[in-house]
Amino acid sequence: MQLVIDGLLTGGLYAATALGLSLVFGTLRMVNLAHGELLMVGAYLTSVLVVALGADPLILAIPAAIVLGALAYPLQRYVLTPIMARNADAPVTATFGVSVAVQSVLLLLFTSNPRSLPAPYATASFEVLGVTVRVALLIATAIGVVLVIGLHLLLTRTPFGNRVRAAAGDAVAAGLVGIDVNRTFAMVFAIAAAAAAIGGSLIAVTYSVSPSGGTSWLVIAFTVVVIGGLGSIRGTLAGALILGVVQTVGVAVVGAQYRDIIVFGLLVVILLIRPRGLFTKAQRV
């Protein structure tokens, strides 16, 4: 029981960190190899704000998210979208370049030491019915769920969401009916980056971040998206919870040193059985 609760709460954190990747992958059909770095930058931005203003990190994550979104918008609009238009595989190389560039900037600014965000609830925990609950993870899960629901509503219930889904379904046709596809894609990327900033701040509160730490979070986020299914925001939440439980139970069985192997092994196994994801219906290739 303890394991399942721990797993679900870890999964909630994973949902918050994978949301940006899922959104970009689902609508832009682009895997952002720099997603891990977006998480890290978000955490460092929050950390800078905490040092400057001294308020609670999870409140300061909101301005950090806005800043990161504003930085991400021109990246998509003027660099990535033109590359996407030319060749479906080229953004992989481009976002790889972005990832390396961001990593080296973080190294230059903050050295390679890991850092975490101080918060009064970071290490606190309480007990319910004999189950220990870590407060920071509970908050992370709550925020993750709120983000998932918010994003889902944004995509399905608003005019903006309609434009996004139209552009994602058929960019040319969307352009013909008067949707500014380039601006819509850039907006999606900015929202994804903002979500990543919050996810990254949650990572820094619960664990820690470092300039090179984004890589394994990228793989975790990708695993979540693969389990949950391409382009499904709700699937991302399901995938994150499944991964969290599998990982926590797995660690209890084989030992904590194999924590990473469980995640990456699960990714490989799922890709083998269902290369297009666990819950996706049969798709055109």
Binding site: A94, G97, V100, L107, V219, F222, R259, V268
Partner: protein, 345 residues
């Protein structure tokens, strides 16, 4: 009048035809001979070079070899691998472990280490090569991270501790440089042959139009697997030579993600999917690193920004720009002659 009308298309055809025809007759021999001649010259020269230059030469060639290896699958195959450090690590560890337990001669051990890396590649590749595009990229990254995590805990290879090369097997800087030259030349010749072989053509066909290639009977995994193994063999050699150069390995050094980052940066800057692009890229990146040696992160940042710029503005890379310029100059010269002829007639 009729005469001039007849002659114009003839000259045009002759001009069009002569370029490729001439290249076809001369280039193949030169493609194999030039690296061989340069290689022999470099080996002879290596004795005269100082130890530190020889060591730098080894580093440059290892960078070039790694990029050549990545380019086979990432450039010609169009599969963006983020897991080549597994090959490097397996090759390096295989060399050190085999040398520690046996007295086999070094060339045999080198080949055995590279073969082991290729076999590892085939075992991992058989499932991985079914994946496409970003799935392949992150799948291989996941495998690489899992292997690194495994190596950090594997008692047989001393887990996270340093695994030393037996003292009796260490090479001098000059010897190692010469050995690396031999391997680099052979690798370049092998890749030149591979690229123009039926297998290489099937590989490119698969990259450019998978459905078209499939309809002509090109099988995906069957085509990719041997190429992937060749790529793994070469990267395994890089790892083995790296182990000889370093004298000891840790999982963090041998399975470092830096290897695949280097390979991709070099290939993209030099020209992905071109024969000499990785070599040119290696020289450029290596030179850049010499100038920015005191601030490593700046070098990395500059390289990454160049990668983004290249992908955005000149996806064919430096080699592509260079050969396009040469072709334009050549065509310009021919164009300069052709109107004169027309004018006369």
């Amino acid at each position: 009048m009729t005469n001039s009308l007849d002659s114009t298309p003839k000259t045009a055809r002759a001009v069009d035809g002569s370029g490729p025809a001439r290249r076809r007759s001369i280039a193949p021999a030169a493609r194999y001979l030039i690296p061989l001649v340069l290689g022999v010259a470099a080996i002879l020269l290596a004795d005269a070079l100082g130890r530190s230059i020889a060591n730098q030469g080894t580093e440059l060639l290892l960078l070039a070899l790694l990029a050549l290896s990545w380019n086979v699958i990432g450039g010609y195959g169009g599969l963006f691998s983020l897991g080549h450090q597994v090959f490097v690590g397996v090759g390096g560890y295989a060399l050190i472990v085999i040398l520690s337990y046996t007295d086999l001669p070094l060339p045999v051990v080198l080949i055995a280490a590279a073969l082991l890396s290729a076999v590892t590649g085939m075992v991992l590749g058989y499932p991985m090569l079914r994946l496409r595009g970003p799935y392949f990229a992150i799948g291989t990254l996941g495998v690489a991270l899992a292997v690194l995590a495994w190596m950090l805990n594997w008692p047989f290879t001393k887990a996270s501790q340093s695994y030393p090369l037996p003292m009796s097997d260490s090479l001098g800087f000059t010897e190692l440089f010469q050995l690396t030259i031999v391997i680099a030349v052979l690798a370049l010749v092998a890749i030149t042959a591979l690229v123009s072989s039926p297998l290489g053509l099937r590989l490119v066909a698969l990259r450019d139009d998978e459905h078209g290639a499939a309809s002509l009977g090109v099988r995906r995994v069957r085509t990719l697997l041997p190429v992937w193994a060749v790529s793994g063999f070469l990267a395994g050699l890089v790892g083995a030579l790296f182990a000889l150069q370093q004298g000891s390995l840790t999982p963090a050094s041998a399975f470092s993600i830096q290897f695949v980052l280097d390979a991709i940066v070099v290939c993209v800057i030099g020209g992905v999917g071109t024969l000499y692009g990785p070599l040119l890229g290696a020289v450029v990146v290596f030179a850049l690193r010499q100038y920015t040696a005191d601030f490593g992160e700046w070098a990395m940042l500059i390289e990454a920004l160049v990668v983004i710029l290249v992908v955005r503005l000149a996806p064919e890379g430096l080699w592509g720009i260079l050969s396009r310029t040469i072709r334009a100059v050549r065509r310009g010269r021919q164009a300069g002659i052709a109107p004169q002829k027309e004018g006369r007639s």
